[in-house]
């Protein structure tokens, strides 16, 4: 019991004094990018600690609103990743997603969000190295910008 409250406190301080400054949400498709992140893990490819991954079956499932919601709730960056066009496990999902995400990508700056804070990309199950690069590069850019002060979204 006491031990519990201790850990709790330590946990709180860890998140409060914001030593881990930023929060990045990753929305991944199950078949390619999530698996790619798995392979990166299996290969012990070190990555920044700031990414939180949400698994969806397919980028076709991803509503642009998810990303905006994340920003609204305080995300400093949002990364969406799926199968390369043509490789969709469901044949067409990422083609639909590509249009929606491209539109979103183009609107992000318009909404008062730095363009570097959003990215959508394609990483296959075997591209563990690429996943490491994508995450490192993206989170790096977001870190440079630092935490977002939110006004509108």
């Amino acid at each position: 019991m006491t031990e519990k409250t201790e850990t709790k406190q330590s946990g709180d301080t860890a998140s409060k004094d914001g030593d881990r400054g930023i929060k990045v949400i990753g929305i991944l498709c199950n078949w390619c990018s999530y698996a790619g992140a798995d392979s990166a893990g299996t290969a012990r490819l070190k990555q920044p600690v700031d990414l939180r991954i949400v698994r969806t079956p397919c980028t076709g499932r991803i509503d642009p609103i998810f990303a905006l919601k994340a920003f609204e709730k305080g995300a400093d960056g949002v990364l969406v990743s799926g199968c390369h066009p043509g490789d969709c496990h469901y044949a067409e999902g990422n083609y639909y997603a590509r249009r929606r995400l491209e539109l979103l990508d183009r609107l992000i700056p318009h909404l008062g969000i730095e363009p570097e804070r959003f990215r959508y990309t394609w990483v296959s199950a075997s591209e563990s190295k690429r996943w490491q690069e994508v995450v490192t590069e993206f989170v790096g850019k977001v870190k440079q910008l630092g935490p977002r002060e939110r006004r509108a979204l």
Partner: protein, 323 residues
Amino acid sequence: MSERQAEIRELAKAALSEGRVDYFIGWGTGYDNSQIVPVFVRDAGEVDELVWNPLAQHNLSVYLKRKMPESPDAKIGVCVKGCDSRTLVSLLQEELVDPEQIYVVGVPCDGVINRRAVEKEFSGEVVDILFDGGRVTATSRDGESKEFSREDLLFDHCRSCRYPNPLYQDDSAGDPVPEPEGEAGPIWESLEEFEALSTDQKSARLEEVFSTCIRCFACIHVCPVCYCWDQCVCRSRKPELVSQKVEAKENLMFQMIHMFHVAGRCPSCGACDRACPVEIPLYLLHRKMNQELHDMLGFEAGVDVEAKPALQTFDVEDPFGEH
């Protein structure tokens, strides 16, 4: 103009008396001469209620959304301007309106004027607006009269209008007006000021603008291509995409949901801007959205009945997203 008004009345009269339509939706005079409102004419004898002048800003295709009107099998006559016809085309693309059930009178349009702009020229209330060619004479309740040029009072999306003649119609009220030259695709001047802002300024401006929203939902109810009605996800608690809390963030989120839902079907007809009781410049969102869709795909909403809305289809060769 008056000639077009006569045409409208003629066509409406014929349609009603021949029983081709149960009622005919056009524009008519509101509670005073400075107000034009949608009117529903149910009797051939009443077609003189129909009016056409530069105040006829309402996009009447909104009444073709299902549940609006309620009787689903009614045969409806309706007047559309160029911009209105594009929202109608969007509805037709999705087969949400049965062409067999509607009789469309296209009204070639030289642009409609912004009544609010007129009102703001007076301290008192404007009760009468008269048109004489390019001149507009407005008179306030206390008898003050002012003259304007029609040109100056046009909505800016009318100034940049590329489709002054309806793209879908059964009959036309009068001869078409000259089409503008130049490369197709809407013009975006009205955005430039906002686009020039820095990221921070943008979000500050959006916060300022959307904190005034009162969530009356006039914008989506008046939107012809927004038809979820009682099921609107912006009011749903499950799933809850947007909270009921009225605050800048949530209000903007609500608009973003609306925007993504009409993306590819919204031609920026401006109905939402005009309906907003607190004058939120919604075009900041939907015109930008249309601009980007145009850059991405050369796509314009509601110009081709055979086409599909941009986001409900795809091209394997779409020229983006390779990163």
